[in-house]
């Protein structure tokens, strides 16, 4: 769950139309166009999640974040049968109460609920939960692991630097790598994560 309290605004007098804002937006809310040689940037306020990515990466400092009427991005876990939530979490190898986004403190159960509610792509998950609208880094893999666990495939838009793909987990490390590098404690760490995944849910 995330409270959005700022939106992006473009100072067109500084913008040079480089499209960086479009490329780093996790929900594709920024669109840069050229009409009759003139640059136009549209920020869709209905989509903007207040993550600051565009403001932080604009080379011209042409974007500022301005306060907006706060609203919440969240999915209600209680709307779903908890067994279904639990099942999807386990398939993605997370405990339902485990934190999957440090910035929003979103838990795996909410991520599962968002997908059960119809989110089929990473950007849809961000809009449904607020995950991915903080640092934009650490929840990257949980989101992609959950989508894969739900059997969902998506294609990254070419006009984007977002969501390059799901990467390997400790459950998938090859026996050769594990045997060659015992200092990394692969199997012990996998067992630790397994214990977390399988621990009973307490309400």
């Amino acid at each position: 769950m995330k409270v959005v309290n700022v939106h992006a605004r473009v100072r067109m007098e500084l913008c040079k139309g480089c499209k960086n804002c479009e490329m780093v937006c996790p929900v594709y809310a920024a669109k840069v166009k050229k009409k009759k040689g003139e640059v136009q940037v549209e920020i869709n306020d209905q989509k903007c999640v207040g993550c600051w990515n565009c403001e932080q990466r604009c080379p011209e400092h042409a974007i500022e974040m301005v306060p907006c009427e706060p609203y919440t991005l969240s999915t209600d876990v209680a709307s779903f049968v908890y067994k279904e939530i639990e099942s999807l979490c386990h398939k993605a190898r997370f405990h339902p109460k485990q934190v999957v986004c440090y910035c929003t403190a979103s838990r795996a159960e909410e991520l599962a609920a968002a997908i059960l509610a119809g989110a089929k792509t990473p950007d849809a998950v961000v809009l449904a939960t607020g995950m991915g609208a903080g640092c934009g880094i650490e929840c990257n893999q949980p989101i992609q692991r959950f989508l894969e666990a739900a059997g969902l495939k998506y294609e990254r838009p070419k006009q984007s630097y977002q969501w390059y793909g799901r990467t390997l987990t400790v459950w998938e490390v090859s026996p050769e790598v594990k045997a060659q590098h015992p200092v990394f404690h692969f199997d012990e760490d996998r067992r630790l994560l397994d214990r977390i995944v399988k621990a009973p849910v307490k309400f």
Binding site: R57, V100, I137, C139, N140, Q141, T167, V177, K202
Partner: protein
């Protein structure tokens, strides 16, 4: 012990922290604070190169000397070269020594090789303009003739095939024929890397895309995660571009030397030993503190504020041995953070608690730009100043921080409350004081009493165990010392 305090690191003008005018009083200015020189705590600390009164020139000399040992033959005529740096290096001593090391590398590579162009690519954490601020502050943009860039984990990526499958690096890091890995050796995030492949870590972090960083912090487990960087560094792609590595070698009191090597793993072994020997003593000494009030007072996000050369996150986990790989999980890592449920209870019973010696935290000055709510959730925290609270309430990574922290108008009021509530007079200030640490007199007495015992335990008992766990030759201790 000195009655006069060591000047704390000055607040910096940055978009991630409040304007320095909103930091009217520093923890070190509080009544009853003293400084303890680190050499009184750890007498065998190595001689310091910087700061030692000779300015940055000594960094240039040592960088030149270190580079004289390097084989440059893989830099061919017409090659482009990226010097890879990280934001962390700029947080030492105002960033001056690291910036001078980077300038010298450029000069030497241009002088000694047929490279066509030498650029600077400085990796970032979560504050996507931070190295841009450092590049400007140190004039590196001009020095590199406009070819100095900050590179962020959300910038354009590229796939790298590794023994862990496809991982993702940053396009701007690898957009040259040759890369030079220029970093710093302090243990810093030992709670994450556990002094395993410390020197290799930036390949999985500073130089990597968000996907790879998330792999490290979410997909692998607390110790296995450190293989991510090794997998990338060992990849054919990175090896095809790798030139050499050069490190600013640190000990808790400052810069010891500059070390360079074509063989990153040989350099890594030397860093592993030095890191454990000196930082191991400081962190173990922090672990011996029975109770204290912590003052955060440094221009960095909450976990990265410094005292005695180590960061606050190390203090948070100092109640267990962070170097002992038999301990799977430190009290603070991002894995640990995920393992608390929504009632604040650990999901399995053996999650180590946050250091119970920290009775209260006074947040006098620390930056946004890192998810820090965990710290306020697990230790009573007082934020100083409305302006700073407002900054945290706007930061997308810290929207919940102030839900768990109290607000005080000023430092004196915060400390009055802290003394009364925490019921201890022991105070440690994470303010980046160089060569020593600023603490209350009671804590100074305590540290001086226990320091020699801790040092002896590290030398005789812990070091042999730590080195054996990492397959590092014990003989290296003598070479590094």
């Amino acid at each position: 012990m000195n009655r006069e305090i060591i000047p704390p690191a000055a607040p910096r003008i940055s978009q991630y922290g409040v304007d320095p005018k909103y930091v009217p009083k520093r923890g070190a200015e509080l009544e009853g604070m003293v400084s303890v020189p680190l050499r009184e705590l750890i007498p065998d600390m190595p001689k310091i190169l910087y700061p030692a009164g000779q300015g940055e020139e000594v960094i240039r000399q040592q960088t030149e000397a270190a580079l004289a040992k390097v084989n440059f033959s893989n830099i061919k005529p017409g090659n482009t070269v990226n010097i890879l740096a990280s934001h962390h290096g700029f947080t030492f001593l105002g960033g001056k020594p690291y910036a001078e090391m980077l300038r010298t590398i450029k000069d030497v590579v241009e002088r000694e090789t047929p490279a066509k162009e030498v650029r600077l690519r400085a990796g970032l954490g979560m504050r996507f303009r931070e190295t841009e601020e450092y590049i400007k502050a140190h004039g590196l943009d001009e020095y590199f003739k406009g070819k100095a860039l900050g590179v962020a984990p959300i910038d354009a990526g590229l796939p790298i095939e590794t023994r862990l499958g496809t991982l993702y690096g940053l396009h701007r890091v690898y957009d040259a024929d040759i890369i030079i890995h220029a970093h710093n050796s302090d243990v810093r995030e030992v709670h994450f890397h556990r002094q395993v492949d410390r020197a290799v870590k930036p390949f999985g972090m500073s130089y990597a895309r968000a996907e790879t960083r998330s792999t490290y912090h979410m997909n692998m487990g607390p110790r296995a995660a450190n293989f991510v960087a090794r997998a990338i560094f060992d990849s054919d792609f990175v090896q095809s571009k790798y030139g050499f590595s050069i490190f600013m070698i640190m000990c808790p009191a400052g810069v010891v030397t500059i070390d360079a090597d074509n063989d990153l793993y040989a350099l890594n072994d030397r860093i592993t030993v030095g890191g454990m020997k000196y930082y191991g003593k400081i962190i173990s000494l922090f672990g011996a503190i029975d109770e204290c009030i912590v003052i955060l007072d440094f221009p960095c996000p909450v976990p990265y504020v410094f005292a005695a050369g180590v960061i606050y996150a190390n203090m948070v986990g100092a109640n267990i041995d962070l170097f002992d790989l038999d301990n799977p999980l430190p009290p603070y890592t991002w894995y640990t953070e995920t393992f608390y449920d929504d009632r604040g209870q650990p999901i399995i019973p053996d999650i180590p608690p946050v250091n119970p010696a920290i009775k209260m935290v006074v947040h006098n000055y620390a930056w946004t730009g890192y998810p820090a709510t965990f710290f306020a959730e697990h230790t009573p925290t007082i934020m100083v100043g409305q302006k700073q609270a407002e900054l945290f309430n706007r930061d997308p990574m810290n929207l919940n921080y102030m839900k768990h922290a109290l607000l005080a108008e000023n430092l004196d009021g915060a400390m009055e409350f802290a003394y009364r509530t925490a019921k201890t007079e022991k105070v440690i200030i994470f303010d980046g004081a160089t060569g020593g640490m600023n603490v209350s007199r009671s804590l100074a007495d305590y540290l001086l009493k226990f320091a020699s015992q801790v040092s002896e335990r590290v030398d005789k008992t812990l070091m042999p165990k730590w080195l054996a766990q990492r397959n590092v030759d014990v003989e290296l201790i003598n070479q590094v010392a």
